[in-house]
Amino acid sequence: MSVLLDHLPELWQGLVVTFQLTAGSFAGAAVLGVLICALRVSPVGVLRALGTAYVETFQNLPLLVLLVLAFFGLPEIGIKAGLLETAIVVIAVYEGAYVGEALRSGVNSVSKGQGEAARAIGLTFGQSLRHVILPQALRTVVQPLGNIFIMTTMNTALAAAVGVVDLTAAANRVNLTEAQPIPIFVGAGVAYALIAAVAGFVTGRLERRLVILR
């Protein structure tokens, strides 16, 4: 236990980096996800194809491959950026595909009659989206988005594999100097479990408040 206390500053720094990675990449993934979802439900064939290609590509590539490609490949084509920023962008791009799919399933879960009724009473496209479709669609995706958030938190650990010193990397470093794996790794595991538990609790509460029982 004292190992954890002795190395609290390093571990805390690692936890902060994990938070930055999670918050940054989830925010980015949310923006990208909305964009991808818009492409995939659009009436324009080319845009749908682009959205589908994006989702297929990034859901079928391992995140670690993307990270390695970005960290070792991008400098080769003259694109240099900081470690943390690169990791955030790559994880956002990867998770964006999942967010996009979750949002799309939400939009598709709204029944056809809702949209038709909205147009029949004369709402414009923007109005029917804002007052009819999205309020219903977003409620069904609270739980899936919560799961994606938890997945993002866990996936940020992969940034440790390419040199970002997040919680996983910090725990590993402390273990290499102290050689007391059990308290260190259990401590790191508990931290991840706590983040996930908080995210699960928040989405659970949100869902109970928002869900429409049919």
Binding site: V41, S42, P43, V44, V46, L47, L50, E56, T57, Q59, N60, L61, P62, L63, L64, V65, L66, V68, L69, F72, G73, E76, I77, G78, I79, V107, N108, V110, S111, K112, Q114, G115, E116, F125, L129, I133, I150, T153, M154, N155, T156, A157, L158, A160, A161, T168, A171, N172, N175, A179, P181, I182, F185, A188, G189, Y192, A193, I195, A196, A197
Partner: protein
Amino acid sequence: MTSTALFDEPGPKARRRIRIATVLGTLAAVALVALALRQFAANGQLDAARWQPYATWPMWRYLLDGLWSTFLAAVVSAALSMALGLVLALGRLSPRRWVRLPAAGYVEVVRTIPALLLVYVVLFALPRYGMDLPLFWKLVVPLTVSNAAAFAEIFRAGINAIERGQTEAGLAVGLTRFQTMRLIVLPQAARRVLPSIVSQSVGLLKDTSLGFIVSYGELLYSGKVLAAYNHLVIQTYLVVALIYLVVNASLSKLARTLEARRPTPLRRRPARA
């Protein structure tokens, strides 16, 4: 397939707008590709000499050997984690609390721990306690531990989706609880969760890229070794990515085909958390 909740059949105006958007979308896509190619060309990464090696068989053979190791690790780990997952799922549904609680605890905790952390535990913690596993198992054990929890949740959802009447009928004709589960519930549940199992297996196959950390010679690690040898970093990793993409996209396609062939459930029940 257009989302019908959002749009009506396009009229003449909408069709013109769709045509404009088609042109703009195509232009944007072409511009993106051109920009990427220009960046590659400006740094000399498009030179024929840098791609030439990947037109030769030995390079591919080396990577395909890596792919074979990836498959091996994925298949062994999938088999083990499905077995463990089934035990955990049955444990979580057990009426006995001393079985149910540990199983639930395992699933809930392990589901939220990154696989990389488990890999580090196997790499750096276990050897200290005299458990220095061979490389293959250093990759397979953490993957099994973490995926077992995911498979357990899939199986539990599948078993819960079978109507209670099936179990009741089984018990009523005199089968024991175990027989009812084995002969009546599990065969139906297995059919229902098959697509989820395939897509979770795609996730597992993606996770085997952690062999990069373990230095087990799977596809990504083979790419690393090859890139260190021929100094074609970006080309090698792009080829590796392409192989992953082809393999995983085929598996995902299989999952969708299975999903489409699945018989429609008689009645929809609210999902249980």
